[in-house]
C-alpha cells in the first residue's frame, strides 16, 4: 500500500489554483473560528463541530475533484462544504437558523448540503453518509457519467457496520467511490488506537480487496492534493473504490461543549505548531510561488467574507412557523 509523497507542486499546479486552495483553507479557518466565537457567546442556537486544524485534509482532497463529482460528509462537515465552495452567507445563515440558510434554517450545522453542487450533505449519524455515497456512485456507474463520489468520515466511523457493508458492496460492484477517513485521532474522547487493533484505518482495505492509502501528513495540503489527484484518476478509470486516510488533528473540542479531559494541552499545542495553513504559506513563499502579501491579502478577504456572512445571517429573517410544516414530502 502506497504511502503519500511530500509537499511538491511539480505537477505544475497553476498559480490560480494554488492561491485558490489557500483561500479555501482560510475560509474554513476563519468561518469556524467565527462560529466558535459566536457559540461561546450563545449566538448560535445548536450543536456544531469545527474543522479548524483539518483544513488541508479537506481542501487537498476536494480540490482534486472535478465539476460534477459528488461528496457525502459527516457531522464535522464545515470543512468539506466550504471546500466545495458553498455560499458562505447561506451557510452562516443556516448555522444561525435563518430562513435564508442553505436549508431554510431547518437543518443547521449538521445537515448542510448543496445538491446542485454535488454535496449530498453533512450527516448527524456516524456512518450515515456511506450508504448514500455508494448509491450515488451506483448512479454514476449505471448512467456512465464518468463522475466519482468521495465519502468523507472520521477515524471513529470505521467501526460502524455500515463502513464494512458499503466498502464491500462498492468493491464487489467496482463503484467509483473514494472512502476517505479523516483521522484526527479521536472519536469524541475515545482514541482511535483504543478501538482498533491495527495501526491505521486504511489497512482495513485488505478485507475488501481494494487499495488502501495513508497520507501521513494530512496537514500538508499538497501531499493530500497530489495523492488525491492520483486516487481520483484511479477511481474514475473504473478500477473500483479505494480507502484513504489522512492524519490530522482538531484544534477545538469535539463539539460545542467538551471538557477536553481526554487529551493534554501539550498534545494540542504540538499539533497547533503543525498548522496546515502556516505550513502551506511557508511552502509557497519559500518556493517563490506566491508572496506573503498576496497570501495575507487572501486571508483578509476571507475574513471579510466571513464577517459579511455574519452580517447577512444576522439581518436575515427567522423562518416562519408555517415553513416548519413544508418540505416533508416531494410532489
Amino acid at each position: 500500500m502506497a504511502k503519500s509523497k511530500k509537499s511538491t507542486a511539480k505537477q505544475e499546479i497553476p498559480k490560480e489554483k494554488l492561491l485558490h486552495m489557500h483561500k479555501l483553507m482560510c475560509n474554513i479557518r476563519n468561518f469556524d473560528e467565527k462560529v466558535n466565537y459566536m457559540v461561546k457567546r450563545g449566538q448560535v442556537p445548536g450543536m456544531t463541530h469545527f474543522s479548524v486544524g483539518e483544513e488541508a485534509a479537506n481542501v487537498g482532497a476536494i480540490a482534486a475533484l472535478s465539476e460534477g463529482d459528488l461528496i457525502t460528509s459527516n457531522h464535522r462537515g464545515h470543512g468539506q462544504t466550504i471546500a466545495m465552495e458553498i455560499d458562505l452567507n447561506e451557510m452562516m445563515a443556516e448555522i444561525m437558523g435563518k430562513a435564508t440558510g442553505t436549508c431554510k434554517g431547518k437543518g443547521g450545522s449538521m445537515h448542510i448540503a448543496d445538491l446542485d453542487k454535488g454535496n449530498l450533505g453533512a450527516n448527524g449519524i456516524v456512518g450515515g453518509g456511506m450508504g448514500m455515497a455508494i448509491g450515488a456512485a451506483l448512479t454514476q456507474q449505471m448512467k456512465k457519467t464518468g463522475k466519482v463520489v468521495m465519502c468523507c468520515f472520521g477515524d471513529g466511523a470505521v467501526n460502524e457496520g455500515t463502513f464494512h457493508e458499503t466498502m464491500n458492496m462498492a468493491s464487489v460492484w467496482k463503484l467509483p467511490v473514494i472512502f476517505y477517513s479523516i483521522n484526527n485521532f479521536y472519536g469524541i474522547s475515545t482514541p482511535i488506537s483504543s478501538v482498533i487493533n491495527i495501526d491505521y484505518n486504511y489497512q482495513r482495505a485488505c478485507a475488501y480487496g481494494v487499495p488502501g492509502h495513508l497520507i501521513e501528513d494530512g496537514n500538508d495540503l499538497l501531499a493530500v492534493y497530489n495523492k488525491f489527484v492520483e486516487l481520483v484518476d484511479y477511481v474514475r478509470s473504473g478500477n473500483g473504490p479505494v480507502l484513504v486516510e489522512s492524519l490530522t488533528y482538531r484544534w477545538h473540542g469535539h463539539s460545542t461543549s467538551d471538557p477536553g479531559k481526554y487529551r493534554t494541552k501539550q498534545e494540542v499545542d504540538e499539533w497547533k505548531k503543525k498548522d496546515p495553513i502556516v505550513k502551506y504559506k511557508n511552502y509557497l513563499v519559500e518556493n517563490n510561488l506566491a508572496t506573503e502579501e498576496e497570501l495575507d491579502e487572501i486571508d483578509r478577504k476571507s475574513l471579510d467574507a466571513v464577517e459579511a456572512s455574519v452580517k447577512f445571517a444576522m439581518e436575515s429573517p427567522e423562518p416562519t412557523l408555517e415553513s416548519a410544516f413544508e418540505d416533508i414530502f416531494a410532489d
Binding site: L70, T72, G101, T102, C103, K104, G105, K106, G107, H111, A113, L115, D116, L120, G121, N123, G124, I125, G127, G128, M130, G131, M132, A133, I134, G135, A136, A137, L138, T139, Q140, M142, K143, G161, T162, E165, T166, N168, M169, V172, E326, D327, I328, F329, A330, D331
Partner: protein, 326 residues
C-alpha cells in the same frame, strides 16, 4: 392472477416504462426472490437492473437511497420484513428526513417491499408486521394493499411516487388470486381508501392481510344475521384517508378496527385515537373495538401461530357484539 404475479407485473411494467427503475435485494436474480416475486425478471432485464446483493441490509438500503437521491428509482426487496431492523438508520434517519433537513431539496424515491406477517411457520423472527414503526416517522409513506389488483395498482403508484414508500406484502398471501387489470397505465392513487363493501350498521376498517378475512366475515354476517357491514379498506396508511374513515363511522356509528400486527402500539390504535378525537366521536353508538394479533412473539407451532391472529369467526363475533346481536 396471484399476488406474486401482480407484483412481478407491476415491477416489470414500471421497469419497461422508466429505465431509472431497477430492483435490488438478496437473491432477486436467478433465485427469483425468496418468495418468487421476481421470477423471470433477470431474464428480461439483466443483472444490472435485477441486482443480487451481498447479505448487507444496511448497504442495500443505503445504496438505494443514494441512488434515489441522484436520479435512479430503486425497488428494494427486503424479503422478510423482520430484516428491516438493519435498515432503520437509512430509512428513518436518512430517507425520511433528507428533504426536510435540506430545506426542501432532493427527493428519495425508493420502494421497500417487505414480506410481512405470519403464516408460514417461520416463528418469531420471521413473522412480524412492523408498519407501525414507519407510520410514526414523518416523511415516509406506508402502504398495505389487500387484493391482487390493489397490489398491482398501489405498487405501481409507489414506484412512481417521489418519496420513500414502505410497501407491505404478505407471505401468507402470495398465492391469493384475483382479477388484475392488465392495462399498463392502471394505477391506484396513494392515500385513497376504498369501500370494499357498503353498509349501514357497522364500519370495519382494515388493510393488508386482514382484508380477506374481514370481507368473509362481512359477507357472512350479512347473509346469516342481516347485519350490513361497511368495509373501509385503507390500502394506504400514510397518507391516511381520514375522511373515508370518519364518513363511514358517522354513517354507521359503530366501528371495528382489524390488523395483523400486534395489538399494543399497532396502527389501528392510531385510527381509534383519530376517530375518538374527531367529530365522528359524537356519532358513536358504542366502543371502538380492535382486533389484532395477540401481544406475544409469533410462536412456531402452526396451531398456536394461527390462533394468535383474528379469525373470521372472531371478526364476526366482534361485529355482532357491536350491534348487540350476541
Amino acid at each position: 392472477m396471484s399476488v406474486r404475479d401482480a407484483i412481478i407485473l407491476a415491477m416489470s411494467e414500471e421497469m419497461r416504462r422508466d429505465e431509472n427503475v431497477f430492483l435490488m435485494g438478496e437473491d432477486v436474480g436467478i433465485f427469483g426472490g425468496d418468495f418468487g416475486t421476481s421470477v423471470g425478471m433477470l431474464q428480461e432485464f439483466g443483472k444490472e437492473r435485477v441486482r443480487d446483493t451481498p447479505i448487507s441490509e444496511n448497504a442495500i438500503s443505503g445504496c438505494a437511497i443514494g441512488a434515489a437521491m441522484t436520479g435512479l428509482r430503486p425497488i428494494v426487496d427486503v424479503t422478510f420484513m423482520d430484516f428491516i431492523v438493519y435498515m432503520m438508520d437509512n430509512i428513518v434517519n436518512q430517507a425520511a428526513k433528507t428533504r426536510y433537513m435540506f430545506g426542501g431539496k432532493g427527493q428519495v424515491p425508493v420502494v421497500f417491499r417487505c414480506a410481512a406477517g405470519s403464516g408460514v411457520g417461520a416463528a418469531a423472527q420471521h413473522s412480524q408486521s412492523l408498519e407501525a414503526w414507519f407510520t410514526h416517522i414523518p416523511g415516509l409513506k406506508v402502504v398495505a394493499p389487500g387484493t391482487p389488483a390493489d397490489v398491482k395498482g398501489i405498487l405501481k403508484s409507489a414506484i412512481r411516487d417521489n418519496n420513500t414508500v414502505i410497501f407491505l406484502e404478505y407471505k401468507a398471501q402470495f398465492n391469493m388470486k384475483g382479477e388484475v387489470p392488465l392495462d399498463p397505465e392502471f394505477t391506484i392513487p396513494l392515500g385513497k381508501a376504498e369501500l370494499k363493501r357498503e353498509g349501514k350498521d357497522v364500519t370495519v376498517v382494515t388493510y393488508g392481510r386482514m382484508l380477506e378475512r374481514v370481507l368473509q366475515a362481512a359477507d357472512q354476517v350479512r347473509e346469516a344475521d342481516g347485519v350490513s357491514v361497511e368495509v373501509v379498506d385503507l390500502r394506504t396508511l400514510i397518507p391516511l384517508d381520514k375522511e373515508a374513515i370518519l364518513n363511514s363511522v358517522k354513517k354507521t356509528g359503530r366501528v371495528l378496527l382489524v390488523n395483523d400486527a400486534h395489538k399494543t402500539g399497532g396502527f389501528i390504535g392510531e385510527i381509534a385515537a383519530m376517530i375518538a378525537e374527531s367529530d365522528a366521536f359524537d356519532y358513536l353508538d358504542g366502543r371502538i373495538l380492535r382486533l389484532a394479533a395477540e401481544d406475544v412473539p409469533v410462536p412456531y407451532n402452526a396451531k398456536l401461530e394461527a390462533a394468535m391472529l383474528p379469525s373470521v369467526e372472531r371478526i364476526k363475533k366482534y361485529i355482532l357484539k357491536l350491534v348487540n346481536k350476541r
